[in-house]
């Protein structure tokens, strides 16, 4: 078994971000995807705190403390950027105007159900942010995740056990071991990460992988 590292996984997702797309990158690992999209593609990144046209990280010492993305990281503006308030920002998301969202996940089920906002630990305060709005309105949801939990248990399941973010919303899963499409019949293999066999990846997946 050979798992992609975070950079390799971000680069793999970036290959599938087309020129001209409006894209929302979720907090955490997905924010690294933009660094791997080739310069000859013009992709407009949306951040739900009120900017279209998120640019690269600023050079040290040039940060604007009031110019941040949804991960609360300092950003710059890309050419053609625009600022707006929150209800407009979520109209873009819920209203189907954003083309692709890339999100992390605790669990994805073979029917496309996504769980990425709360665990079963009731003592820990849940935090939903904009995840439910994104999956409700963005037509293409890419999930970027480790294939298994730290303890080796599967995250790609027949049915999610954690509270759902959205029902049947995931289009495609990019894990560190494989790319899988969500189809009406279940997970279908698109490709294996180099150095892995289908048998190995299937053994780490609760749901059946179709080929």
């Amino acid at each position: 078994m050979k798992a992609l590292n975070d950079n390799e996984l971000a680069a793999r997702v970036a290959r599938d971000i087309p020129d001209g797309a409006y894209v929302n990158l979720g907090i955490g690992k997905p924010t690294n995807v933009s660094a791997h999209v080739p310069d000859d593609r013009e992709v407009i990144y949306h951040s739900e705190n009120g900017i279209l046209g998120v640019g690269p990280t600023p050079a040290a010492g040039t940060e604007d403390l009031e110019l941040i993305d949804a991960s609360k990281r300092y950003i710059t503006m890309a050419p053609g950027a625009a600022f707006f308030e929150h209800s407009t920002s979520f109209a873009m998301m819920r209203g189907g105007h954003i083309d692709i969202a890339v999100l992390g996940a605790y669990q994805v089920a073979e029917n496309g159900d996504l769980a990425n906002w709360a665990t079963l630990d009731e003592t820990y305060p849940p935090a939903v942010g904009g995840a439910m709005d994104l999956v409700a309105g963005v037509p293409t949801i890419f999930v970027m995740m480790r294939h298994v939990n730290r303890d080796g248990s599967p995250k790609l399941l027949k049915a999610c056990t954690y509270p759902l973010t959205g029902l049947g919303v995931v289009s495609r899963v990019y894990s560190d071991l494989a790319v899988l499409d969500v189809t009406p019949e279940g997970f279908r293999l698109v490709e294996l990460a180099p150095g892995n066999s289908l048998d190995e990846v299937q053994s780490l997946t609760d749901a059946r992988i179709l080929t």
Partner: protein, 221 residues
């Protein structure tokens, strides 16, 4: 008409115990730190705060949590790195939490400000956050009814303001501030620059009709 007030303390003086208070900002951007500090000094308690986050470290809303001034928080994302005071109060059962999806939070506030009785949204349909709520299938798609969210006060942060209450913003410090201005019975804006001249009408983001008082606070976080 002159909505300018002399200082932060005068601006927050009307906020009484038990009031509901919207507080603008997202992450560390667009938070009315000056007004929050003044509210802490003023002493009102038992407050319901409506805001996207619940503060981090020892700043902003975290100061109110640390001092035990909040009874309830309505927000989308209470858990951020360093949100220790929210977590302590929550784990001790000392604070009520209502988690609302971020877009639903913004739209409930918008509905209140726009005089609407609520709306149906696809967000959260079929999830735990829709439990107990009215649902409806419209054109084959499931929606959840969400009620408007009003507040007694809104504390806002803007870049510029004038005596009419018009506001303009800087970069991503805009976020929830304009929509919250519309939904509170009494909106108070701290502005980095309080202009003697009227703001350029083409650059006004929040028209002054939504703002009851403006106070200058030049510090940018």
């Amino acid at each position: 008409m002159d909505k300018r007030v002399a200082d932060l303390a005068s601006a927050v003086a009307p906020i009484a115990d038990g009031a509901s208070v919207m507080i603008g900002g997202f992450g560390s951007s667009g938070i009315p730190y000056g007004l929050i500090d003044a509210l802490l000094a003023q002493g009102a308690g038992g407050l319901t705060v409506i805001s996207n986050n619940a503060g981090a470290g020892e700043t902003g809303i975290a100061k109110l949590l640390k001092a035990g001034r909040l009874a309830k928080v309505i927000c989308s994302y209470p858990r951020t790195p360093g949100s220790i005071w929210f977590e302590r109060r929550y784990e001790a059962g000392e604070i009520e939490l209502e988690v609302v999806p971020q877009g639903t939070l913004a739209e409930r506030i918008r509905a209140a400000g726009a005089g609407l009785g609520g709306f149906f949204t696809p967000t959260a349909y079929g999830t735990r956050l829709a439990e107990g709520k009215e649902t409806r299938v419209i054109d084959g798609r499931g929606y959840v009814f969400e009620a408007p969210l009003h507040a007694d006060f809104a504390l806002l942060r803007a870049e510029r303001g004038d005596r009419w209450g018009n506001l303009s913003f800087h970069a991503t410090a805009r976020n929830f501030n304009p929509v919250m201005a519309t939904a509170a019975r009494h909106a108070i804006a701290e502005v980095r620059h309080l202009s003697d001249a009227p703001l350029d009408p083409e650059r006004v983001v929040t028209p002054g009709i939504f703002v009851q008082s403006v106070v200058e606070y030049g510090v940018r976080p």
